[in-house]
């Protein structure tokens, strides 16, 4: 306690928080069948999460277990997501795969679930490490951040002002990627490129639209925009394609092929990237079953076989990386449908 007798951040830090991952992994344990795995995306009705969910469903069914999906109808309804965690706990599922709206808010509920013997996997968006058993990362944050800068740099010839159009200011994954983008930009080969602004479109089409307009008006010399969010890149592309900036200002980032096909074809966008959300969901489902079967516990260094996807190793803090993202351009975009 401090001099005045209150509890401060320092006190809490000193207490330390130890989350024990109990039990021991048995890599050779049989895959259990008849389990129930609950998927809890940030938002139902979101095409991205629906695709991920379909991947998860395929994996879980293949392994002889039951898949179910619940979730809030709004991506900012954190309390709604918490009560869905509670509901899944209440329904005694064997494992749940969660894409967390908030790194902290779900913690209490998730810990409660783990106390009730439920295995927790996070995918797409993580919580604090002690609140889940494993996290399936869509690609390493570092890879994503750096490659997006590289993609844009090629398109604008390593020269000129660039800006970022992000989602919500609080989006954890966005912020991590942006950090790595900044790190990449420190490299001398980008000395002629300047990051002039980061705008937030809140994953809302209209807001992203107006933020793009603002970026272009404020920085007449802008050469390129990175939008590491599917909603943002789509809105920015739609604006650019209907404006005088079409083709002059480059746009890249994370988008789905179906969303972006038109803009790639009409020349608004040259190339962008994304991982395959279906594979992300599939890996989440397989990891959940592996955890529930006792084949892994989420400790660093453990390995397991994820069906046809191959062998995966658990990294630091229980993070499992899906692999490198795919770059889409006019040549290959028609090979994908999601």
């Amino acid at each position: 306690a401090t001099a005045c007798g209150g509890t401060t951040k320092e006190d809490v830090k000193n207490e330390g928080g130890a989350a024990a991952t109990a039990g021991k992994a048995d890599p050779n344990a049989a895959t259990k069948k008849g389990l129930t795995v609950g998927f809890l995306p940030k938002q139902v009705n979101n095409p991205y999460f629906t695709t991920a969910g379909q991947g998860g469903e395929k994996a879980v069914k293949e392994l002889g277990s039951t898949y179910k999906e619940v979730g809030p109808s709004s991506a900012t309804d954190t309390s709604g997501q918490v009560s869905y965690v509670n509901t899944l706990t209440q329904q005694q599922v064997d494992a749940m795969a969660v894409s967390a709206q908030d790194p902290g808010a779900l913690c209490t509920a998730l810990k409660q679930a783990m106390n009730n013997g439920i295995k927790v996997v996070t995918y797409d968006s993580d919580t604090k490490p002690e609140c889940r058993n494993a996290f399936i990362s869509q690609a390493s944050a570092e890879d994503l951040g750096r490659t997006e800068v590289q993609l844009l740099a090629e398109q604008i010839g390593h020269k000129g002002e660039i800006a970022i159009l992000s989602a919500a200011q609080t989006a954890t994954n966005q912020n991590t990627w942006i950090e790595f983008m900044k790190k990449e930009l420190e490299d001398p080969k980008y000395k002629d490129m300047k990051l002039v602004e980061i705008a937030y479109g809140n994953d809302d089409a209209q807001t992203s639209f107006q933020q793009t307009q603002g970026l272009l008006q404020e920085h007449p010399n802008l050469k390129g925009i990175i939008s590491p969010t599917t909603v943002g890149i789509k809105a920015a592309a739609q604006y650019l394609s209907g404006s005088k900036y079409k083709g002059k200002v480059k746009l890249t980032g994370l988008g789905t092929p179906n969303d972006m096909r038109k803009y790639v074809k009409n020349g608004t966008v040259e190339a962008f990237e994304l991982w395959d959300p279906a594979r992300l969901g599939e890996l989440a489902g397989r990891t959940a079953v592996a955890l529930a079967s006792g084949q892994i516990t989420g400790k660093e260094g453990e390995t397991f076989r994820a069906g046809a996807m191959g062998e995966y190793t658990i990294g630091e803090d229980g993070v499992i990386n899906l692999g490198k993202p795919t770059v889409f351009d006019a040549k290959n975009i028609d090979d994908f449908d999601f």
């Binding site: 603002g214 008006q217 739609q238 005088k244």
Partner: protein, 346 residues
Amino acid sequence: MTVTAPDRTPVTDVPRSSGTRLVDRVFRMRELAILAVLLVMIVVTQLGNSEFLSEQGIKDLLLNATILVLVATGQSLVVITRNVDLSVGSVLGISAFAAGTYLQGGGDSVPAVLLAVLTGVGFGLLNGLLVSLGQVPALVVTLGTLYIIRGIDSIWVGSRQITAADLPGSFVDFGSGGVRAVPYLALIALAVLVATAYYLKHFGSGRELYALGSNPEAARLAGIPVRKRILAAYTFCGALAGLAGALYLARFGNVDSGTGNGYELTVVSAVVVGGVVFTGGSGSVYGAALGALLLTSVNSVLPALGVSSVWVLAINGILLICAIAVDRVVALRVASALKKRNARHA
């Protein structure tokens, strides 16, 4: 009882120069106040960023306002009758998707727009029937239909979405095209706005909307078909929300189950900022349109000035409060001037 000659001077022969001047002037002054705020804002921005009023810049300003202007026009009709329609956002979303699915299936643009409008009309009728026949508080009913329509929308749409690629190119081009700096969409909104304003001022049924908002009981006693008028106002509001849905599709080329979510607060703000009074009976659609223009312009002005988007929300809110405060002060001034003028013992 002895009758003394009244000391009131008889009314002079010449009627005061023109029609319903005084009442109008009250409205007009309030609209001028909003217009002034808007102009000041735009001029300041232009000084800070010369790109702001470029052809593209003006086009963007107008395009941004278009959809809100349409919905706010419909909403103000409902608010004038002392009601409110909170479900406009949901209606916009579902009609945009309806038009989208039709176009996706290879349909033509005109029937698609009609389909959106008809969807809007349908839900407008539903709201109108519930409010006027049930004679129940509009706020609750339309909050209810807001949820119901949104729910139906998301069950129907699921995780599907309609993207620009699914739409005919001409439709999407129409959404961003225009005559020089004036987008086609803005012309549509303007036409609707002017027609509505003309109707409200020059037609008996339009004035009756004001009357029944001003004093519903008196309206009933005056033999105004109250239910019919309210029903009509809601239907019109729904129709415009539907039309706005179609234009949204053309403009953004993208609709999913979340489209129009939370739009009701923006619309209500625009209407309120535009000086349409929530207790009914007063306000004009021009005011509401100006309010819409003001609100959307704020969203363009701040990024154009390079204000970090972190500040946008706070500034937005404060501007909104300032706008209604200015409006209020002007209204009070006008009222007291009116009172002085009418005091019989000056």
